[in-house]
């Protein structure tokens, strides 16, 4: 019984990321995001102030219209939630989707 409870335990991880690339979350970055999210078993939800969408659906991610500077909440639920959140945060904030950031 105890072992069973352990495996049923739900891991929830949340973080906030800021879109850094100049063009924002247009289709190509959104596809990269969805590709990374789909490498994990956990559910991924992404939200701005208005909407919460499925981070594994390209159509839903395109609905966010996240411009450069927009902050998004990423929430992952499932065994590999922590890994998923780390990978997505790296993609958005460190790699900024391999796209240029705004010229200062």
């Amino acid at each position: 019984m105890q072992a069973g409870q352990n495996s049923l335990e739900k891991v929830i991880c949340e973080t906030e990321v800021e879109i850094k690339n100049a063009d924002g979350l247009h289709m190509r970055p959104a596809m990269q995001f969805v590709d990374v999210a789909n490498q994990f078993d956990c559910d991924v939800t992404v939200s701005n102030n208005e909407n919460s969408v499925d981070g594994k659906s390209i159509m839903q991610m395109s609905m966010l219209a996240a411009t450069c500077g927009t902050k998004l909440k990423i929430k992952a639920e499932g065994k590999d939630a922590q890994k998923a959140v780390n990978a997505l945060q790296e993609l958005v904030e460190e790699k900024h989707f391999d796209e240029p950031t705004p010229k200062v």
């Binding site: 247009h26 390209i58 839903q60 219209a65």
Partner: protein
Amino acid sequence: MKFADFVCFEAVIPQLKAGDRDGVIAELVVSLDKAGRLGKGDREEIIKAMIKREKEASTGMGKGIAVPHVKHEAVKDVVAAIGQSSAGIDFCALDKQLVYSVILIISPLDNPDKHLQAMENIFKRLQQEKFRKFLRQSQTAEQIESLLREADENPSL
């Protein structure tokens, strides 16, 4: 942003003649040009750029929808054409299914935020099965225009 803010209703084609991806892209770009929306922009150049973009990654997002797009200096504001095919077009879509509704978008070089807002509006609607069905059932440009205007006026629908 509303559909009426960026869709060129004179460039709505209820029955596309072309039966393949590149042909459909060309047909819709030409219709925008004929409607006077490309200014001095070179239609051939825009068609080529759009096909190139499409080859990098298909904009066939699934559920019978494709949204080919490109940035080009020919436009100062986001402009879109819409085409429908009852036979369906192979767009190498993500779900490997045929595409029946094509929304082709040309965005200005220097306004990425506007492009995102247009996309937001398009996908909010295309998420809805009802909207996709109505779009596919539209037989005339007028029906498509009134569907889009109705969506604009009733954000909650």
